[in-house]
């Protein structure tokens, strides 16, 4: 006869409001095999846990059931307490009478009856439970960083400085990301390039960092501590080991009028190019779509002029497999465009702003490039249409953000601050110009942030107009901006020379596809989901994968750097152990009954099932059976449900346990 203890929690009032916990505890005490039962206000608190420990010792318990919240919440807590009391932790189970009962029911009588039933069948499960020992798996102390923006760079440098190997994979030809595009940064107005480029060089020179640029993640296998990642290095058409970065190829390339994405399409580049002069690595790449050699087979000037013979038109994509123990995802963001979107798309464009057809309506990043000393205008604010210096500039905040009708309801968080910065940069460069800002709310929380915005208004003479713009259209060489000032209660009309829109921050293109490869979750905007909004903000629900920067949601540079360092700290915590303990809730094959149909192998989402040959002493093959690698098994139970001969079972969820639970009702 088993001696089980039942511990019923009030959860403050969360459970006791709808469930008569005292009655549940009393009824539990009458179940055969239950040696002790009690209830307590907060079972997860220190006194609550002590209650469990004391009961195990005093009543010589051989199993425990805590009827409280979801096991997701506190299973670990109570198993630790049970373990401290000398009980095998896997003989301590949780009955969920909160999420599954008190929170979803109103009738006290019925809820109490249901809670009693939950306790009853969970007691049966504990009775049939087995002592289990945790599984240990080795940890590969090498981290993969996906994305080479400021988030990826910070995480990579932190992990590499701690003495671990790091592999960084960047999609573009150079690392640096969006921060390398910025002119100056709020709230101190220091030059972005000046603080960014040294870090980029540090990454390139760090002995512990392997850098793959112009590369993408092809496939991710494995699990925490033991990932196998296939990286596709796209054909650069330039041999990185030979190229010296002299740049002769770029000066000689006859195709010179290709809009440069780095300058938001406003600067021009050649077909063989580096995105910007400070690029890391400083190795050019051939844009095959625009290269005459690739399109018509005639040219090859770059190859002829290249001294070291680095240009290689025959180069192919290569696949490399890297074994890593942890992954930091830092893929960043893109900016929303007001252009016309497909009819069926959840996100829509702005017809009232001309769908992006008016050349002097630009976005914030384009303004950054205009204001940047290394930008297409050499740092002079000149409008795209005719190159004139604009005297009236209108800034519009919340374009795409906080616009449910356009498909995005979130706040992009950085626009209020960067628009304030833009007005300052404009004021510094065009002294007789006037900046106007249409805003719905000025959201400037952060150290020194509100002061920065107020400085733009009070000292830098930006006119802030509280209200949105309804429509914009071209009149002559001006853009008529029709807005309103809700503080005065009048319509406002401004004839602007240039309009800068703070467009919404969106998840990077292909963020969803990468998430599917990694097996991590993402929200409806394709931003990656953290495991817990408050207490696990850098971890993914998938163990061993961490998040940094704007791929999780809009973030400014300080927040991004903080999160990247936090992700690095999490990786280092993981790497501090040589062996990882895993939950022993894994599938086991009963080889006696297994007929080797391998249906389990087909359905296993983790790839944990292998074939195993059983031979007699003479070495003759007796039969082939399925075998589960406990290091890889995720404990989902799909094999158990599939097996036609009922010879696979998940520890802790055996058929015997499940049947006993059902029969108890």
């Amino acid at each position: 006869m088993s001696r089980i203890g039942v511990f019923v929690c009030h959860c403050g009032e969360n459970i006791s409001r709808t469930v008569d916990v005292e009655r549940v505890a009393k009824e539990a005490g009458e179940i055969p095999g239950v040696a002790y039962s009690c209830d307590y206000k907060y079972m997860c608190s220190d006194p609550g846990q002590n209650l469990l420990k004391k009961a195990v010792a005093e009543h010589n318990l051989d199993g425990a059931l805590v009827a409280a919240c979801s096991p997701r919440m506190h299973e670990k807590t109570f198993r630790k307490a049970a373990s401290a009391a000398g009980l095998n932790p896997y003989l301590c189970e949780m009955g969920n009478i909160r999420e599954h009962c008190s929170w979803v029911h109103e009738d006290r009588e019925e809820a109490t009856a249901k809670a009693s039933d939950i306790v009853k069948f969970m007691v049966e499960r504990v009775k049939k439970g087995k002592s289990l020992a945790p599984i240990t798996v080795p940890v590969t102390k090498k981290a993969l960083i996906i994305g080479g923006g400021i988030a990826g760079i910070q995480a990579a440098l932190d992990i590499a400085d701690a003495g671990h190997q790091v592999v960084m994979v960047e999609r573009e030809p150079s690392i640096g990301g969006h921060m390398a595009q910025l002119s100056e940064t709020f709230p101190t107005l220091d030059c972005s390039q000046c603080i960014m480029t040294p870090k980029m060089v540090d990454v390139a020179n760090h002995p512990n960092i392997t850098l793959y640029t112009y590369a993408e993640i092809e496939k991710v296998d494995g699990y925490i501590g033991n990932f196998q990642v296939t990286v596709r290095k796209k054909a650069r058409s330039v041999d990185e080991s030979k190229c010296t970065g002299c740049g002769v190829c770029m000066t000689k390339c006859p195709k010179k009028k290709i809009p440069n994405d780095f300058d938001q399409g406003h600067g021009m580049r050649t077909a063989i190019y580096v995105p910007f002069p400070q690029a890391v690595p400083n190795t050019p790449v051939i844009d095959r779509q625009n290269c005459t050699m690739f399109q018509s087979g005639k040219c090859g000037v770059c190859q002829k002029v290249c001294g070291p013979g680095a240009v290689d038109f025959e180069q192919q994509d290569t696949l490399t497999v890297e074994s890593v123990g942890a992954i930091v995802v830092a893929t960043g963001f893109k900016l929303y465009s007001i252009e016309r979107k497909p009819e069926e798309s959840a996100i829509q464009g702005y017809g009232e702003f001309g769908y992006g057809t008016i050349p002097d309506i630009i976005d914030g990043m384009t303004f950054e490039r205009l204001a940047s000393a290394s930008g297409p205008t050499g740092g002079r604010i000149l409008r795209p249409s005719d190159g004139k210096e604009p005297k009236q500039v209108v800034f519009i905040q919340c374009v795409g953000s906080r616009a449910r009708e356009k498909g995005i309801s979130y706040c992009s968080k950085v626009c209020c601050m960067y628009t304030a910065k833009h007005t300052m940069l404009y004021h510094h460069k065009v002294h007789d110009g006037q900046a106007y800002v249409f805003y719905m709310d000025a959201r400037t929380p952060g150290k020194g942030y509100d002061e920065f915005w107020r400085r733009a208004v009070e000292e830098e003479e930006a006119v802030y107009i509280r209200g949105m713009v309804s429509r914009m259209y071209q009149r002559g060489d001006k853009i008529v901006v029709m807005g309103s000032d809700t503080l005065v209660g009048v319509q406002v009309e401004i004839e602007a020379d240039l309009v800068v829109m703070a467009t919404a921050v969106q998840a990077q293109d292909g963020a969803d596809l990468l998430a599917q490869k990694l097996g991590i979750s993402y929200d409806k905007y394709n931003f990656y989901s953290e495991a817990h909004a408050k207490l696990k903000p850098v971890e993914c629900a998938t163990a061993g994968i961490y998040l940094a920067g704007a791929c999780q949601g809009p973030k400014d540079i300080p927040d991004t750097v903080s999160q990247a360092s936090a992700a690095a700290a999490k990786v280092m915590t993981l790497f501090a152990k040589d062996q990882l303990e895993r939950d022993p809730v894994v599938a086991k094959v009963n080889e006696k009954y297994c007929v080797g149909c391998l249906a389990c192998k087909k359905v296993c989402p983790y790839g944990a099932v292998e074939e195993r040959e059983i031979r007699d002493r003479q070495g003759n093959l007796v039969k082939v059976v399925a075998n589960v690698n406990p290091g890889v098994c995720g404990g989902c139970g799909t094999c158990q449900a599939t097996c036609p001969s009922k010879s696979v079972e998940l520890d802790g969820y055996t058929d015997e346990q499940i049947m006993a639970m059902i029969e108890s009702l």
């Binding site: 208004v457 107009i465 319509q491 009309e493 401004i494």
Partner: protein, 194 residues
Amino acid sequence: MKNKLMHLSNETMNVGFVKKVEALSGTSVRRCFQCGKCSAGCPMTGFMEHPPNRVVRLLQLGQGARVLAGRSIWYCASCETCTTRCPNKVNLAAIMDALRKLSWDADGPSKESYVQLANRLFIENIRTYGRQYELRLGAAFNMKSGQFLKDLMLGPKLLSRGKMKLFHQKNKNLPEIEAIFNRIEEMRKKGEAL
């Protein structure tokens, strides 16, 4: 005028006027972030077409003309509740003073308003008699404003209770009063006073 479409440009925003207001009042209009606490506490808000915060807002947009066209500044009782309670140290009472002066100097459209007339007669009395002569103030105001019978029935009551005297009471130091007025006029010429 109140709800008319507002064109904003370097030409339509009278920054010079705002600078004058700021210099006279010694306070910055750009400082105001439009929380509305001034209007919330102002005892005269109900009479004004532009409540105090909107007066500042219009100045922020360089729309001094819109402010002077209205009578808000003349309803201001100078109680200074706005200034006392402003979270951002905007001295709105001083701004109101400055606006009234600029309106006066510019022969603002509200110059001949009753408020101004009363103010002027009040000060004239002080200058002539050295102290207030209420009967004359009331009579002169009614005559000049053309409302001959306004509040006439209050007269006997005030007289019988001694609140208003039939004859003026002369101040013995009239030359000193005159000197004060002269000094203020001098200061105003130099721009040291409103």
